[in-house]
Subunit: 147 residues, 2 copies
DNA sequence: CTCAATGCAAAGATTTTGCATGACT
DNA sequence: AGTCATGCAAAATCTTTGCATTGAG
């Protein structure tokens, strides 16, 4: 956490309209230096090594501030509760980054629009999130050994 | 819920190795006749109109049985807890449908493989889940009116 | 000095589990 | 008959909130 880091962090906070605090800077540095897709608990554990007195609530609040400010993204916008897919035909999802509503869209309707374009229904595209679902090598091996 | 429905449901259960129960059939019919992406609570509310004595736990267990049996899908495989995306470069996700691990894959590495094919790392592709993220018309309008 | 951020503890929401009872095969 | 499913209540997670205190601008 040198002077450069601090300078960069100040400008990050400024662009997001956030006050610069020690807690936020440490959470930021931890996220920047962590690989993968950490949960708030994991972030909390790492941050506590630098600030033992930080509270989990602050970590949550800070992560949310960063996400609202566009500094980090969430892996999934619908992590709150289980949702069942009732539409059995192949389709994709229009997910509003603000209200998190989900609307189905047929494969054919989604002409892989130009980034930032509007889809027929008036949905303003910000970005795509593509999940490739399947079996990881470890699970394939485990299943091969299963009786 | 006529004889045809029951016959179809019996074969659905058979293919998934599930016992045929009245509760399961009603949950099944509710899911088939519901649009959108219902939560377990919503399913519970609808099922209770047919079986007032059903418990929420049974609805959860039934939904999980259906998902495990491949009868229905979940909208998102990572709905359990918030996860932060630390990889700032454009990428997609390899999500194991079994262990739910998430690995990043560069846009370039993902040659939009043939359905069912294997990716270089050995990941066995089952299907794609594409979320188009952006602003729904309602939120665009609300934001236009905001001060 | 003023407003926002933090820490703590308690509450809320969602989901799972243990166990006794009852239903399917 | 034996196993699996159900219902209930309690427990386990994960996340948010209210409020007093502290810190940033």
């Amino acid at each position: 956490m040198n002077a450069n880091d601090t300078r960069q962090f100040r400008s990050v906070c400024e662009s997001a309209g956030l006050a610069v605090t020690h807690q936020r800077q440490v959470v930021y540095e931890v996220l920047r230096s962590t690989h993968g897709h950490p949960s708030p608990e994991e972030v909390y554990a790492r941050v506590r090594r630098k600030i033992p007195s930080i509270s989990l609530a602050t970590v949550y609040k800070t992560i949310h501030s960063f996400i609202e400010g566009g500094i980090f993204h969430e892996v999934s916008l619908h992590h709150g509760s289980l949702r069942v897919e009732t539409n059995q035909t192949p389709h994709h999802h229009l997910v509003c980054t603000h209200c998190r509503s989900i609307h189905d869209i047929d494969e054919s309707e989604l002409g892989l629009t130009t980034q930032g374009g509007k889809l027929p229904g008036g949905f303003l595209v910000e970005r795509y999130a593509i999940d490739v679902l399947g079996r990881c090598p470890a699970c394939q091996q485990a299943e091969g050994q299963a009786t």
